[in-house]
């Protein structure tokens, strides 16, 4: 099986994968809810970190827990828990960031039986010199709790090893992204999304091997498809592969992204230092910012623009989870930034499932703006 097929298989059967992993390694699995959750530490604890995501199915089990204007992703994620799809998890954690997913965590904690729960109080004032020292302290608390739960000491060498593995993972995925700069990318946006999603579900070492394999395949991989317009996807959480596949049948290719479950999650590596905890804390303070913790537009926007230029995008699909206020703050300013740089944009608002008909029309109309010429 090729690497891409493997990624697809894992993300399609994510729950089976995790349960098999537990059997095989006789280990524990821990679910995490926000991309600020320190996977390195969970891994060092000998656990399988599993990102909790939605299933994009219509559901009616969350309305008694989450009020009407909580973002669909937070609802969908909680629904999975309420339906028992994550019953194999031994623990759950989240890093303090946005209040929507906070609701998912709190209700999970209160209404879904799970042995281990830990809330990492992530300092959100990233510009403050006070943030890193505190985060180190918070991580110490997290480590103690994990050690108590697993009965396994977490040594600095474990942390170093985890850092090494995740840095490799990040580096390799960025190398795959490099291929998307080509005129005719040998990998589609949907395939890339599956790769990154899988990286948040799989054993990182195993994912690294698959990436090595993929990087061998890509140089000779030819896709027989209409590449069309080069698009960038910018926004909040996004793992709706069906949607991206639909989009890429409409004469366009997603060549780069900036979102919670994509590049924003993995782009920055840990700068190894003497003290591994300090190094990890530094990474999660200085990393590519989520609008939920950013109080300045510039750092995020500069990086987005650089991506857009390096990957030669012709248009940007700016989207958000419905009701995601952190992104809603940024979007008008983000659109202006794109406009000032002559990059056309289309804004979409995502729900748990997507009304394909209407979204298809908007995307087609957008592509028509970019390439339908009149006589």
């Amino acid at each position: 099986m090729g690497a891409i097929e493997k990624f697809q298989e894992v993300s399609a059967n994510r729950h089976q994968y995790a349960q098999d992993w537990k059997k095989k390694h006789n280990g524990k699995a821990i679910g995490w809810l926000c991309s600020y959750s320190p996977v390195e530490i969970m891994h060092a604890a000998g656990m399988l970190p599993v990102r909790i995501l939605g299933s994009h199915e219509v559901q009616d089990v969350t309305d008694r827990y989450l009020f009407p204007t909580v973002c669909p992703f937070s609802r969908d994620a909680l629904a999975q828990g309420l339906k028992g799809r994550y019953s194999y998890l031994d623990g759950i954690t989240m890093a303090r960031t946005c209040s929507h997913v906070q609701g998912t965590y709190d209700n999970w904690k209160n209404y879904i039986p799970i042995p281990f729960k830990y809330y990492v109080w992530q300092p959100n004032h990233m510009q403050s010199p006070r943030a890193k020292p505190l985060l180190v302290q918070e991580y110490k608390g997290f480590i103690q709790a994990l050690e108590k739960f697993t009965g396994k000491k977490i040594a600095d060498t474990d942390l170093d090893k985890a850092i090494e593995l995740y840095n490799t993972n990040r580096r390799l995925m960025k190398q795959v992204y490099e291929f998307r700069k080509k005129e005719e990318p040998p990998i589609t946006g949907a395939e890339c999304m599956e790769m990154v999603v899988a990286s948040q579900l799989m054993d990182v070492a195993e994912h690294n091997n698959l990436l090595e394999q993929l990087l061998k395949e890509l140089p000779t991989r030819k896709l027989n498809r209409n590449f069309g317009v080069r698009l960038m996807m910018v926004g909040s959480e996004m793992d709706d592969i069906v949607f991206v596949k639909m989009m890429e049948t409409l004469n366009c290719t997603v060549v780069i992204d900036e979102h919670c479950t994509g590049s924003r999650y993995f782009w920055d590596e840990v700068k190894p230092g003497k003290d591994p905890l300090a190094a990890i804390a530094e990474r999660y303070v200085d990393r590519w910012q989520c609008p939920a913790v950013a109080a300045e537009f510039k750092p995020r926007f500069d990086r987005i623009l650089k991506h857009a230029k390096d990957w030669k995008v012709q248009g940007a699909l700016v989207y958000q989870q419905k009701f995601c206020d952190p992104h809603e703050f940024d979007i008008p300013h983000l659109l202006k930034m794109f406009k000032d740089n002559n990059i056309d944009t289309l804004v979409l608002e995502f729900d748990v499932t997507i009304p394909f008909g209407q979204f298809r029309t908007r995307i087609e109309a957008f592509l028509e703006i970019l390439e339908l010429e009149l006589v």
């Binding site: 199915e57 219509v58 009616d60 089990v61 969350t62 309305d63 008694r64 009407p68 729900d351 748990v352 499932t353 997507i354 009304p355 394909f356 008909g357 209407q358």
Partner: protein, 254 residues
Amino acid sequence: MITAGIDMGAKTIKAVIVKDNKIAARSINPTGFEPVETAEKTLEEAIKQAGISRGDIKKIFTTGAGRKSIPFADNSVTEVTADAKGTNYLLPSVRTIVDIGAEEARGISTDASGKVLDFSKNDKCAAGAGAFVESMSRALELTVPLMIEISHKSTKEAPINATCAVFAESEVVSLIHTKIDKADIANAVHDAIASRVCSMVRRIPIEKDVALIGGVANNTAIVEAMKKHLGVEIKVPEKPEYVSALGAALLAAA
């Protein structure tokens, strides 16, 4: 003792006459723009049916959205209280009542005596369930009965996500234009409503037995979908659209 209950609904007005704790007559008319006159007319029809005279009626209670607009009423009660009373009379074993009206859906939990313990109503974005069926039957160019009939023949699921009735409509329209079978769309419409109503009802404790009342309860497809979503049997009283009016009449006798 003879009493009457009048349900001043936004779409229809119903009257029920109760004689010595037995239903003596029922009548219904579209509300129109002169609700008071319609109420008068509806009541008179019931009186004729019951073979009594206006003077025999000891008390008249009103309920429903327009309950306060009736000068000749002795008192008014809210739909929730009336629903509970009426259902308790017809189906004493019921502890959870679901009432789906044109604009609003309600979940009511009651005790053995029909007293309201708790209730929930749909929030802003889930309003308009009942009316949704009708406008969708139009989009499908089917009468409501026909839509119900074919809905039972559905084989495939076609999800409708939007909670907003108006957005849901446009989802249905795009489904229609993507060659999806009418039966499956009809089914999806009923399923979507049931799903929305159920998630609202879940805010109150759901105890057996569960009853579905209100005009929409005549819609067997929705009843089916409700069973599926709540995972319990659902009782539907005879003439479910009259339950509120009946409750009001019974409360007038109390």
